[in-house]
């Protein structure tokens, strides 16, 4: 199971932050500024408060980075820092291909979803990049002198901000600007193509059975709205709700999106009880969606946006 992006318990983290002063120093190798791709505009030491509310101080551009989230791995590679990545979370860190050979630190804890603390420390990281959740092991890592930096993205704008922040933290501001400006261009292109089209009704399947979908406040919910979809589950009150199949039949969406997490083929979807009555499924508009592109808050999110927009508005993409 991949580390999930649950909401941070900011009050706990803020309380911990008081205890954390100075913990960022201690581990790591001597700075070798000449190896940094670009440090223009950044002078170290640099202090940035992360999305858990914890201030993180780095004395020099990090040389040994460990990531604990596939999106963080993708961001590090996009900034040209792949060579400095010494540890990743596990088998889900599969992009880019170069990430696959790197030491894995995940698989510990009661549910096998925490990082292995000993393994992390043995890698002597001078930056540990991750997403929200796991306050307990984060505190342990900080106590051991590992600078833990958390990002939390709930929409595409957050991703731009995250990449720029990681750029500041790693002394790669220019690379981050280039990546973000390319992504902004891509997103603007996609949104420009679909903006004239009337919104299409759609349903996004995460899992079945029970039928599980995404709420409006999730990362995927934001992408669906941007891609010109009026989602059946836009009125959901939680992030990954179990959804009534009756309601799916009644709302009768025009496009049915199936996450690769679900893995159901269009044929399998149509063969479920009641599903063949849905317009999208009867018309064959069942589109498999690569979950990695739409659920990882990283540089490929604009590819996910394009994938969704193309599925919803094929005519706008010629």
């Amino acid at each position: 199971m991949r580390p999930t992006g649950s909401r941070p318990h900011r009050f706990i983290v803020l309380a911990l932050a008081v205890l954390m002063a100075g913990c960022a120093r201690g581990a790591g190798t001597a700075p070798r500024a000449s190896e940094a791709p670009a440090t223009a505009g950044v002078s170290f030491p640099v202090t940035i408060t992360d999305d858990d509310g914890v201030p993180v101080t780095l004395d020099a551009p990090p040389q040994r980075i460990v990531t604990f989230a596939p999106s963080a791995t993708e961001i590090v590679f996009a900034l040209g820092l792949g060579e400095r990545l010494v540890g990743v979370s596990g088998a889900f860190d599969d992009y880019p291909a170069a990430a696959k050979g790197i030491d894995e630190i995940g698989g510990a804890g009661d549910f096998g979803v925490d990082p292995n603390i000993e393994k992390v420390v043995s890698l002597r990281p001078d930056l540990f990049l991750t997403i929200s959740g796991g306050e307990q092991w984060k505190k342990r890592l900080r106590d051991l002198g590992v600078p833990v930096f958390t990002t939390d993205s709930t929409d595409v704008a957050d991703v731009f901000h995250d990449i720029e922040t990681v750029g500041l933290l790693t002394g790669t501001v220019d690379a981050a600007e280039a990546v973000v400006s390319r992504m902004r261009g891509e997103a603007a292109d996609v949104e420009g193509r679909v903006v004239g089209d009337p919104a299409v009704t759609c349903f996004y399947e995460v899992y079945y059975p029970p039928l599980t979908t995404v709420g409006p406040d999730t990362f995927i919910g934001d992408l669906l709205a941007r891609a010109g979809c009026r989602s059946v589950s836009a009125r959901a009150r939680s992030d990954y709700p179990q959804w009534s199949v009756e309601d799916l039949v009644r709302q009768d969406p025009q496009v049915y999106l199936v996450s690769s997490e679900s893995g159901a083929s269009p044929r399998a979807v149509a063969s479920r009880p009641g599903f063949d009555a849905v317009a999208a499924i009867a018309a064959g508009r069942v589109v498999p969606i690569d979950a990695d592109l739409v659920s990882r808050p990283g540089p490929r999110v604009v590819d996910g946006l394009r994938l969704l927009a193309r599925a919803l508005h094929p005519e706008a993409f010629g």
């Binding site: 959804w243 009534s244 009756e246 997490e261």
Partner: protein, 346 residues
């Protein structure tokens, strides 16, 4: 022992409750479908009348392919779980016994999970999961039985202890299988949470004959279970072949539990609560208890599922959460009332 007239009245109330909950559950949901509309659609589908005017196709699909099979499945699973609980409680002479206590539900779940992890979710799993659930339940029940047997007899205490020990081993095995699972971890959670989503008429048709077989066998053991409640020694003196009876009872209880697990995952409390509650009302005679349980189990699960799918509509809750929330307080209330009644009589 209550008077036959009073028992008759209780059964009449249970029948009325079952019919009312069935009609209510078929009518209520994301769209209201009146019983009259339901009757007209069903009559049309059976070829008795023409297509009813003014009924949208979506309503027809919701009724025939989604809501009706779900309510019927709830009834079948409720009956199987409640009867399984009644049989195990009679065997153990322990009103808190339950398919879970002797590890049968865990065994069924382990069988199912192993197939999910090692065979994926393709065509093999569609047949393999129910079969493996059944195999897991029966194997567990007999393993526990073998472990618990000392000489020619099986003592209830050793049976319970063996059940708890085997359930603990199975639970570790489940954790082990889950640690190998990767992406199927979700399938496993869905299975362990239990639910009535996604089963059509085909699954119901497959499970109903097995449940009927189990219920018939349970009915045949009712008299023997009464004798057993006098104590094993006394039962043997009265001509009951105690060890054979126990073996048969375990097989029947395991069959019923496995039927339920194979189509609906692990749904707790129905097998524990229903017989216990009704014993407080109709007494301990299994010939009276079983019919009452067969009426109340379906009612309980139909209503629990109705709550699960309507309280946050169009979102749904896992039905196991509702059975626990509904069953727990009611159980405590009756337990307390019974305690006070016993105190007053003393």
């Amino acid at each position: 022992m209550i008077a036959p007239r009073r028992y008759g009245r209780i059964l009449a109330v249970l029948v009325a409750a079952l019919v009312a909950s069935f009609l209510l559950a078929v009518a209520v949901g994301t769209v209201w479908i009146s019983p009259w509309t339901s009757i007209r659609v069903i009559a049309w589908k059976l070829g008795i009348t023409g297509r009813p005017a003014g009924v949208p196709v979506s309503t027809e699909v919701i009724l025939l392919q989604l809501r009706l099979p779900r309510v019927v499945l709830a009834a079948v699973v409720g009956a199987a779980l409640a009867a399984s609980g009644a049989v195990f409680q009679g065997l153990f002479r322990n009103p808190l016994a339950d398919p879970a206590i002797i590890g049968v539900s865990s065994g069924a779940a382990l069988g199912a999970i192993a197939v999910i992890v090692f065979a994926g979710s393709g065509a093999l799993a569609a047949f393999g999961v129910p079969l493996a659930a059944f195999g897991g339940a029966i194997l567990t029940a007999f393993l526990v039985y073998r472990l618990a047997r000392i000489g020619p007899t099986v003592h209830v205490a050793t049976l319970l202890l063996a059940g708890i020990a085997v359930a603990a081993v199975i639970s570790s095995a489940m954790s082990l299988v889950m640690s190998f699972s990767g992406e199927q971890v979700r399938d496993i959670y869905a299975w362990l949470l239990g639910g009535l989503v996604g089963q059509g008429w085909g699954a119901i048709g497959a499970v109903v004959p097995l449940v009927a077989l189990g219920l018939a066998a349970a009915a045949l053991t009712a008299h023997d279970l009464n004798l057993l409640s006098l104590g094993e020694e006394r039962a043997a003196q009265l001509g009951v072949e105690v060890t054979r009876l126990k073996r048969r009872t375990i097989a029947v209880g395991a069959l019923l539990a496995a039927c339920a697990v194979s189509v609906a995952g692990v749904i707790g409390f129905v097998g524990l609560m229903t017989p216990h509650l009704l014993r407080l009302v109709v007494g301990a005679d299994h010939r009276r208890l079983l019919p009452a349980v067969l009426l109340a189990g379906p009612t309980l699960l139909i209503l629990s599922d109705l709550v699960a799918r309507t309280v946050l509509s169009p979102q749904e809750l896992p039905v196991g959460i509702v059975t626990a929330l509904l069953g727990g307080p009611f159980f405590l209330y009756l337990l307390r009332r019974e305690g006070r009644g016993a105190g007053a009589r003393a």
